[in-house]
């Protein structure tokens, strides 16, 4: 067992410096406070452990040995100082004093014991020793020490319920509790007693507490503030006073208030518990009651006296509207303020009035609109689904461009927000980086010339699109140039492998106009169609019919070879262009009246009415005005939006042509395999068309025998055409390509 000297030496060499360090940390200030509790906690825990060891020694064979341990422990805790000690720390210190005192008494040193008991009482005036646990003689000694040090104080107030604080001359504050309370033991001495209650003026009294005496204090309180009490239906209503949220109603109304509530038209079962708003200054207060989906209520409360005010029960009226949503294509998920509310088309009642963010999401794209719904308003909203283009950032090709990144980024976002045919959003950088890193790619990998594996780019863009719910990506690169003015915008459709680039002077808004115009131009994948093939000659005033496509609107209207078309809907037709313009200005299903003269000599002009049909159109393979990646986004929207329809089948055909534009014959092959299975077998753009292009793609990929097979199948589609329903016949072309 270490001697006292050894223990003291140990204290000096180890414990004291550590405690001093801890003290320094404590005194370091508020900024270090977040670390102190942890350090203090550790210290208290260590003290707890030390106490347990000391108590074990105390209870052991040689009780006196515990004194050394208690010495260490007490020294450690005393070094922290009374203000730093937590309540638990004080408890441990108190116990240490007690045990040490008892130990000293046990070894026949009652003075030492008394010292300890004195320290104990000074720390905890209300401490007592249990005769059941402690020797009666020790208890007696303790009590005798205590009697010389401790008095009692009892405080009452009117009204009761005030907080009483004992303030020592040194500024040490001790909370005694709420009035009215029975006498509490405190150290004898001179004190100030503070009596505080919300809404009342704080009262201070000086008291002198003598040992073994009880000082009684009765403190009348003066009310200085008002309180307001509310009964509100429904629950969960926020009560704002003078622009500050004071409380939110909750619970249920007490039965004794039912009648009062009913008298004001409230449903007691739906009303909240009566709630108090205390500490209202005297004067006029703006009261506002709010709850989402309810019309707010405003009141003015005049608190002229410091008293309780009962506000008349208030019932909030619900404030709801409704939305009727349709989308093209249908079946899109509806989210209102982020909450799923079904799929389109839908009629959604009972929507809280106010700001509503309507999001309609589909695999083909999305529609977003922010609106303000008024109470009882029924809004019908058509939600055209648009593909979404995600802006995934700006890169600089040289160090010189780095300082322009932020500006370019902001300008591009600002200007491309004008796009109408696309939703333009900024992709979350971290999510994009993470996904790209998984495949060891960067943003630069997505632009042409990066050498990235096309299949990998295709795969990654598909994954990114799925994760971000977008259909295409835009990456901007600031090329190396002396004056950094240009941004090269690379547009890449999801699932495609080659981006298209457009240069813009990024700081100039007008520079974006041509690009926006190109992007917003929609490729019309079908056109109105008559099935009438005419030619221009210098021999006729009108245009003679050269061919009538079997089964076409013109055939159904009885037009024949050799008929001469003189006018369309009353307008003269001098050239085929006039007739084509008349058809193009209408839509499928419209009627067109032609004035026609028969081929036979002496024929009289007659009117022929035909109902226009629709012809699908192929996208040109190379058209400098088209942004093919954007077209692919639009086409994929049709495929996703109208699965299993002819429109989707034709969209696949055109996706194949877009893929061929990028020399992606493998991609084209995949689209065409699906298209040929879905396209009808009929005159015009049809299955034979897909078979022909399938042959072309296979041939480009080097699969000549398979290409021949496809060509031969295409050649059997007698009336299939290219370009559109009036285009060149596939059969002859395919037969030639198949060879002998």
């Amino acid at each position: 067992m270490p001697t006292k000297t050894e223990a003291t030496a140990r204290f000096r060499t180890i414990v004291a410096p550590a405690a001093a360090l801890l003290l320094l940390a404590l005194r370091a200030g508020a900024q270090q406070a977040p670390e102190l509790p942890a350090a203090l906690q550790l210290e208290v825990q260590a003290a707890q452990d030390a106490l347990a060891r000391a108590v074990a020694e105390f209870d052991g064979a040689q009780q006196s040995r515990s004194i050394v341990v208690f010495d260490e422990l007490i020294a450690r805790l005393e070094a922290l100082g009374p203000r730093a000690l937590t309540r638990r720390g004080k408890e441990i210190l108190a116990q240490a004093y007690e045990y040490r005192g008892r130990a000293y008494y046990g070894i026949g040193l009652p003075e030492k014991a008394s010292d300890n008991f004195r320290q104990l009482v000074q720390l905890r005036p209300d401490h007592s020793l249990s005769k059941e646990r402690v020797s009666p003689k020790v208890v007696e000694l303790f009590d005798s020490v205590k009697r010389t040090l401790v008095g009692s104080i009892a405080v009452s107030s009117e009204p009761a319920g005030a907080q009483v604080t004992l303030v020592s001359p040194g500024g040490l504050r001790t909370d005694l509790g709420l009035t009215d309370f029975f006498p509490i033991e405190v150290l004898a001495g001179e004190y100030a007693v503070e009596v505080t209650r919300s809404g009342y003026r704080t009262e201070t009294r000086a008291v002198s507490i003598a040992a073994e005496a009880t000082e009684t204090l009765a403190v009348p309180l003066v009310r200085v503030l008002a309180s307001a009490f509310f009964v509100v239906e429904p629950t969960g209503v926020e009560i704002w006073v003078d622009g500050e949220l004071r409380t939110t109603t909750a619970g249920s109304l007490s039965p004794e208030l039912y009648e009062v509530a009913r008298a004001r038209g409230l449903d007691p079962a739906r009303a909240a518990a009566r709630v108090a708003i205390p500490n209202l200054s005297l004067g006029s207060h703006a009261i506002e009651l709010r709850r989402p989906c309810y019309s707010g209520v405003k009141r003015t409360l005049e608190t002229t006296e410091p008293q309780d005010y009962e506000v008349d029960p208030i019932r909030l009226e619900d404030s709801l509207g409704s939305l009727k949503l349709t989308s093209d294509p249908p079946g899109a998920r509806i989210l209102l303020n982020g909450e799923a509310r079904g799929v389109t088309p839908a009629e959604i009642p009972e929507i809280c009035s106010g700001k509503v963010r309507v999001e309609v999401k589909h695999a083909a794209g999305k529609f977003i609109k922010d609106l303000v719904l008024e109470k009882d308003e029924a809004v019908s909203l058509d939600c055209p689904i648009r593909p979404t283009l995600a802006f995934i950032g700006v890169e600089a090709a040289s160090a010189g461009g780095l300082r322009h990144l932020a500006d370019a980024d902001a300008r591009i976002q600002q200007n491309l927000a004008e796009l109408r045919s696309l939703n333009f959003i900024t992709a979350p950088r971290e999510a994009v980086d993470r996904m790209l890193e998984q495949e060891r790619l960067t943003r630069q990998s997505l632009v042409p010339g990066s050498g990235s594996d096309p299949d990998l780019v295709r795969k990654v863009t598909d994954r990114l699109a799925s994760a971000l719910e977008v259909q295409g990506f835009l990456v901007a690169v600031l090329p190396e140039e002396r004056l950094q003015r240009t941004a090269r915008l690379h547009l890449l459709a999801a699932g495609n492998s080659k981006a298209e680039a457009v240069d813009v002077t990024f700081a100039e808004a007008p520079a974006y106009a041509p690009l926006i115009k190109r992007l917003d131009a929609l490729f019309a994948s079908e056109r109105p169609w008559s099935g009438l093939v005419t030619v221009d000659t210098l021999l006729h005033d009108g245009v003679p019919v050269l061919r009538v496509v079997p089964g076409s609107p013109a055939a159904q209207a009885g037009l024949a070879l050799g008929d001469l078309v003189l006018a369309a809907d009353g307008q003269p037709v001098k050239r085929t262009a006039d007739l084509l313009a008349a058809v193009a200005s209408r839509k499928a299903g419209d009627r067109l009246v032609l004035q026609v003269r028969g081929a036979a000599p002496g024929s009289q002009p007659r009117g022929v009415e035909l109902t226009l049909g629709a012809s699908a159109r192929e996208i040109p393979l190379f058209d400098p005005d088209l942004v093919y990646n954007k077209v692919m986004m639009d086409l994929r929207a049709v495929v996703e939006g109208y699965p299993g329809t002819e429109a989707a089948a034709y969209a696949r055909l055109n996706l194949a042509i877009c893929a061929m534009h990028f020399s992606d014959y493998a991609g084209a092959h995949d689209y065409l395999q699906q298209a040929k299975a879905e396209l009808p077998l009929r005159p015009g753009l049809s299955r034979g068309t897909a078979l022909y292009y399938l042959g072309v793609a296979l041939e480009k990929l080097g699969y000549r025998p398979q290409a021949v097979e496809a060509y031969r199948a295409a050649a059997e589609a007698k009336d299939a055409t290219l370009i559109d329903n009036d285009g060149p016949a596939v059969a002859a072309l395919a037969a030639r390509r198949a060879g002998p």
């Binding site: 093939v533 005419t534 000659t537 021999l539 050799g562 050239r575």
Partner: protein, 494 residues
């Protein structure tokens, strides 16, 4: 004050030099190239050529050299007509600058040069090989559609109309925005018409007008559809007199020997009475013609110039008048003049054919006038008095032998391709050929017969207004112009 000006000039030139010095050689060469192209656009050929030559000589390591050589080659080819120099420039590009953007263009132009002089199958194959290199070696080059279209031209020259159609179809479908697309679409129509598919041809010509309405090919397409519709649009060909047509030309309409319609649309009339060949424009206005003693025949050269054959000389365009001789029969004797010329023409290969009444033969000369022998040559040494020689636009040489009452079509080598008559012809006096190789044979006693390339009679154009056909011509839309000898007027059948 006087010292300041030289100082200023020095400073200025230093500044300019400094600015110039700041440009890299590539930038300088590029600027010279672009300036040269600008001069070309303004018609300043010489300045343009100077710029291009400076690029080649002073900036040999820059990227612009290939393009400059290409422009030089084009200048030699298109402006000077110096094919040898042109070929040398193009070869320099393909051999020394094979990776430049100009290389595919050089192969293309080399192919054109080869095709221009190709008369045999191997020569046409050579041209095709040049064109094929463009697509094979430079698949993304903007020269690909042009090369494909040129390949189609080569196939058409070889009579392979299906292959020509296929290639033109590819250009029209896959490169609709290229500058070759409209021409390719037009050529599809042409190939189909030549392969006896007139209705399909009309549709394809119409597509030129529908899809490329502003192109230079829209108007020719209209003319072709008009011509085809007239022949094949109805149950049978329909030619009807055009009452609105009237030519007033005084003596020019007396004793007319020949008619021809020039590419400008002007109707040339060779009149013995007027001793000249005179053009009449579309508005009916007489223009400046060629005087000639005893004009005999009119024809058009492969480049569209009017050829007037008169008894003793042949005029090729406005300025070129030539007389011809044949080598003396005996050594030491003088060359024998050809002074009873009946007709003359220039073949697609550039040879000059002159029909001589005395020798009863068609004499062939090279471009410099050197006698090459008789045409068709050893294959056919028959004596004949050919009163009309013209080209059918597809490499065929059409001859009218009035005495034998036959119209024959030969190729450049003298091989007989087809003939019409004497069966079916009574007194053929003239012949014309349309863009589809249909032959229009003016028969004094009957009118005008129209024969298809297979020799089948499509129709005979006759009307009470036509009393005696003496000369025929066709305009671009296929309307027939007939000189009525008795009425001394020109009739038009539309």
């Amino acid at each position: 004050m006087t010292m300041r000006r030289p100082m200023l000039a020095l400073l200025l030139s230093l500044a300019v030099a400094a600015a110039f010095a700041q440009e890299t050689p590539d930038q300088q060469a590029r600027r010279l190239l672009e300036d040269g192209r600008g001069y070309l656009a303004q018609g300043k050929q010489k300045q343009a050529l100077d710029n291009f030559n400076i690029v080649v000589s002073s900036f040999p390591s820059t990227d612009s050299v290939g393009q400059a050589l290409l422009e030089i080659g084009r200048y030699h080819m298109e402006t000077e007509g110096d094919k040898a120099k042109a070929r040398a420039a193009f070869e320099q590009v393909t051999q020394q600058h094979a990776r430049s953007d100009a290389a595919p263009g050089a192969y293309y132009y080399q192919g054109l040069l080869t095709l221009a002089r190709a008369t045999t199958a191997p020569e046409i194959e050579d041209a095709l090989a040049q064109f094929a290199r463009v697509e094979t070696l430079y698949p993304r080059s903007p020269w690909v559609p042009r090369s494909l279209q040129a390949s189609a031209l080569a196939h058409r020259r070889a009579g392979r109309y299906a292959e020509a159609t296929d290639l033109n179809r590819r250009v029209s479908l896959e490169y609709p925005a290229s500058d070759a697309a409209a021409a390719a679409q037009y050529e599809i129509g042409r190939a189909l018409a030549l392969s006896a598919q007139p209705r399909l041809a009309m549709e394809e010509f119409q597509q030129v007008r529908n899809r490329f309405p502003l192109s230079a090919w829209a108007e020719p397409a209209l003319e072709r559809t008009t011509a085809l519709y007239r022949l094949f649009g109805g149950a049978k060909p329909a030619f009807s007199p055009d009452p609105a047509f009237s030519v007033t030309a005084g003596d020019v309409l007396k004793d007319v020997r020949a008619l021809v319609v020039a590419p400008t649309g002007a109707l040339w009339i060779a009149s013995e009475k007027a001793k000249s060949a005179v053009p009449i424009d579309r508005a009916g206005k007489l223009g400046a013609g060629f005087s000639a003693e005893d004009p005999r025949a009119l024809a058009l050269s492969p480049t569209g110039d009017v050829i007037l054959a008169s008894r003793t000389a042949v005029r090729f365009g406005a300025k070129d008048v030539r007389s011809f001789t044949t080598p003396p029969e005996k050594p030491g004797a003088l060359p024998k003049p050809v002074d009873k010329i009946l007709a003359a023409a220039i073949t697609p290969g550039g040879a000059v054919l002159v029909s001589d009444e005395d020798r009863e033969a068609i004499l062939r000369y090279d471009g410099k006038g050197e006698y090459l022998g008789n045409f068709p040559g050893a294959r056919d040494a028959a004596k004949r008095k050919v009163t009309r020689i013209l080209l059918d636009g597809e490499g065929g040489i059409v001859t009218l032998d009035r005495d034998e009452k036959a119209v024959r079509v030969w190729d450049e080598t003298g091989r007989l391709l087809r003939s019409v008559g004497p069966v079916g012809l009574k007194r053929p006096v003239d012949v014309a050929v349309d863009a589809f190789r249909n032959l229009y044979v003016a028969d004094e006693e009957v009118g005008v017969h129209v024969f298809n390339p297979q020799g089948q009679l499509l129709t005979t154009i006759a009307s009470p207004e036509l009393r005696r056909a003496r000369a025929v011509a066709l305009d671009a839309s296929g309307a027939l112009l007939v000189y009525d000898e008795r009425a001394q007027r020109v009739l038009r059948y539309r």
